[in-house]
Assembly symmetry: C2
Homo-oligomer: 233 residues x 2
């Protein structure tokens, strides 16, 4: 029951957050200067600053030098999604994991793939099809392109031993990633590979990664029916 004699920055954050929630600081309103809040709450400006950084990172407030701190006018809901290596994901669900290479083909990237990377010219790439299995049942279908200029080693990887997904995550770090989520209807081929009915609605995640503007890989991961992606709580 004894409150800590000193406020931690998380305490300060919660206080400010509370005031925003209660509209003590309304939408779009300007907050007092860090220093005034510090004085009011009885802590240092440093502590208030750390709290504010967190609220800004959460998208709740906007800060500008000289401009001051404002509550964001149009509140947004921010969700964080963690996407593990597919093997880990399957094993975390308590299933046994396996994967199967469906196809590999080397060639220049077609236009839609160039678009994903924002590339003007076709690039020499490896095109991979693979299926991830959970307890021997289709779990996720991967349609992947790997840039051979950035990642020539991929040619000598033994995909019987490790999936391209996992190999890349372990050996090809990236500095930028773009993800897109959408739904597609299974066509005949996808349906056959995932063992579902044609036309079924499938959640699809498109993921493209770069290392300092150099394309690494882009993948369209098509989940089997019933797949649900949950935000971190």
């Amino acid at each position: 029951m004894t409150p800590p004699s000193r406020l931690s920055w998380t305490d300060v954050r919660d206080v400010i957050h509370g005031r925003i929630l209660v509209r003590d600081y309304g939408l779009g309103a300007k907050l007092p200067r860090d220093e005034d809040i510090a004085q009011e709450l009885g802590c240092t400006r440093t502590t208030v600053h750390r709290a504010m950084q967190d609220l800004a990172a959460a998208g709740l407030i906007d800060r500008k030098r000289k401009g001051g701190t404002h509550v964001v006018a149009n509140p947004i809901t921010r969700a964080t999604i963690d996407i593990p290596v597919t093997r880990s994901e399957v094993e975390a669900l308590g299933h046994s994991y396996a994967h199967r290479l469906i196809s590999t083909q080397r060639g220049p990237s077609p236009a839609p793939i160039m678009v994903r990377f924002g590339a003007a010219q076709p690039r020499d790439m490896l095109h991979l099809g693979a299926l991830h299995l959970a307890d021997a049942r289709p779990y996720m279908l991967e349609d992947r392109w790997v840039d051979l200029a950035t990642c020539p080693e991929i040619l000598s990887v033994d995909f019987a031993a490790i999936s391209a997904n996992e190999w890349l995550v372990r050996h090809k770090p990236y500095t930028r990633v773009e993800m897109r989520f959408f739904a597609i209807n299974a066509d005949a081929e996808i349906a056959a590979q995932l063992g579902c009915a044609a036309g079924e609605a499938l959640l699809t995640v498109e993921r493209t990664t770069w290392l300092d503007n150099a394309p690494i890989t882009t993948v369209q991961a098509i989940a089997a029916p019933g797949y649900v992606l949950a935000s971190k709580t």
Copy 2:
């Protein structure tokens, strides 16, 4: 061209991040103590600490008192998704926004809705159907339940003037949100409302919010065909 004589915490973060990328600090490896890194780089432990906090928040490292700092063994891809009020989203795309109330009905929450809130007993709720329009074309279909114990004011809202979505965001702050993303096939009713073919694959976002464990609202937002959710870059 002159490097700053003093390192900022973002500089330190980038240095450490770089070492992780290059596997200087490999997957699962233990990093030196903050203080040693501080000494090596010529800055204070405070600065290193701030950098580490950021890397930890990004999911790249794990920190434990006494245990030290370790590179996360199973790298994950973390995506952040911002979901604005639907009106803002539509207007940001350059379209004119409108919405239409389809149905309202008061009654006890059925089992699936109780599950979403983790509630043991049915609750008195308002069940709303609404359609968001972009340039007069169906954009998103909402199936929403609002808890009347937590949010009785919803009964007197004029839904011709403001959508439940926007009203709630502006007047009912939440402290916890859970989101789930999945794909569904349009049934006849949904197809009719969204003006698409039955069976089409539709991205669906389920969002449930609480204010300190008190249920506020849960909504299933079904997007029209072609909808793509992109992560913040």
